[in-house]
Symmetry: C2
Subunit: 356 residues, 2 copies
Amino acid sequence: MTRRPNLAVVGATGAVGEVLLGLLSLRQDVWGEVRLVASPRSAGRTPVVRGESVEVLALTEEAFDGIDVAVFAVPDEISARWAPIAAAKGVVVVDDSAAFRIADDVPLVVPEVNAAALRIRPRGIVSSPASTTLAMIAAIGALHAEYGLAELVVASYQAASGEGRYGEAALREQTALVGGLDAGRQEIGRQTGDLRAVIADHGPFAAPLALNAVPWTGTLTDGGWSSEEVGIRDESRKILNLPALRVSATCVRIPVVRTHALAVHALFEREVTQEHAQEILRGAPGVVLYDDPAAGEFPTPNDVVGTDPVWVGRVRRALDQPAALDLFLCGDNLRKGAALNLLQIAELVAGELRPA
Amino acid sequence: MTRRPNLAVVGATGAVGEVLLGLLSLRQDVWGEVRLVASPRSAGRTPVVRGESVEVLALTEEAFDGIDVAVFAVPDEISARWAPIAAAKGVVVVDDSAAFRIADDVPLVVPEVNAAALRIRPRGIVSSPASTTLAMIAAIGALHAEYGLAELVVASYQAASGEGRYGEAALREQTALVGGLDAGRQEIGRQTGDLRAVIADHGPFAAPLALNAVPWTGTLTDGGWSSEEVGIRDESRKILNLPALRVSATCVRIPVVRTHALAVHALFEREVTQEHAQEILRGAPGVVLYDDPAAGEFPTPNDVVGTDPVWVGRVRRALDQPAALDLFLCGDNLRKGAALNLLQIAELVAGELRPA
């Protein structure tokens, strides 16, 4: 291919799509046409990409004519239906949904960890992990390469924008409501269930989220596990090529607009030290070590919003397990957790299509 | 003793003290005099206890004259200084601070778990655990009795009122600020560090807390561990009489006014099942099982505020460890996490002083 490859962004007007268009304007430009695709409802809008207004097309089979790579940032059921249609036209699909993540014949790729997996894609589809997995896996992958990972225990602190624009708007409305009430009702948040009385509409969350925490994301699977909790396990196993890795995750939504955080307990095959683990993380691609509690340095979600890497702090050797580390990680759920990882994969595919 | 014992509440005007006075009005009344004590700054106030206004006295040695039991809900350094003074006058001190929790000659008591430990108190001081430990230990203790506990991995979701009235007020101010700004600044929480620009005063927190999460509570100890993280380990070991228990905790403050939550991964000596674990928790004293995700039933901090028990939901057998459970727990940090546990201990002491 002598021309530059053409990219379609499917879901261009969503929360992830918006961040993706912004990244296309910021990163080295490897693309010919950038075509924007969305639901018929959003067709006709003209967001700016690479300095130019581009009209959004409705999602149809024809929208993929002449396209080489398509990134999909749409709900599972839209990906499940349309990714195979695009792939059948010879388009390489890079999909952000959960529809194909665990399929044996679809690679699940994090470029810093398993870029080589990208090359075998019998269905023409490449999958990108969930934003929770992406908030830790570059850091955990680097530690695994050195120490050999045996077990992960994960607790998440997930942002409202994990539920897209609807989730973000719901948290903003709830925050404005309790923040505004506060002057007159100093008791808000101090009485059993009073947030339920004040916040009638929970939005996409299972309970009021402002001034609260909701221990539920995803859908119910066997044994009381949520789909997102099982996803962290299955995705970590697949990306790290550790099919017997032991993983327990508890997923919790907290009142943060953007950026997921994770508390991780990681048990390895070999002994660790705090200093050596910090050194590995300092040198790991896609990872920033920010870890000096004496100086007040540890990542918080808001400090990480809008940045590319996974930020790691609170690195500690377990007090009672010489082969275990405890960590706190933050990753922007819309950026590395979605748009950036999609675009990194798409750029690798573009590189394949344009041999030197 | 034929008369009813006299109780002193030291720290009567603080956040824990306020809840304690409320409980004294609600619970079966076993006390003669209830004397209120606080810093000289708060002396002279007249809060209502058991339906009567009671004047607050300044903390002096004389304030303990004629007192049988004193509960201390004050900062560590005040307890460290004044608890021995009260004890030297024959008062049984029930202390909420961290000053004596790990001392070998001070029992650390949770009535549902280790009431018998109360009887041996060579210094005349009994300690109550941290609110984080209390948010789980009644439930974990019941499971330990059945399965034999080997390891705990804990991630906390801690409320602002863990930093007392100052912490609660700081979160309210921050919430009002971002909630009020929100109408005009829809980007708040979406730009790197913008909360730091808007929230100049973090209050007692290491970073802005509204719309954020701060992975730091307590003070720095060796190896990057915080005092609260080490406390959860040391207190769990002491209460459960398991000096070799492996514990890793990561403590995180989130924007919740009141009630701590914990995600806990608990490994046992024997195999577990979800149903049996739920049955144990359903019957455990001081514990409520609220666990039906299909019906949207799991505890959230706001639903638990103002209630006595520890609430447990999301009970799952670990997918890859037949002897491990994953749980989500909520406990009101001012009630069972502080005031209620203090009062339960004080009532047990009162019972000793008034043999049948």
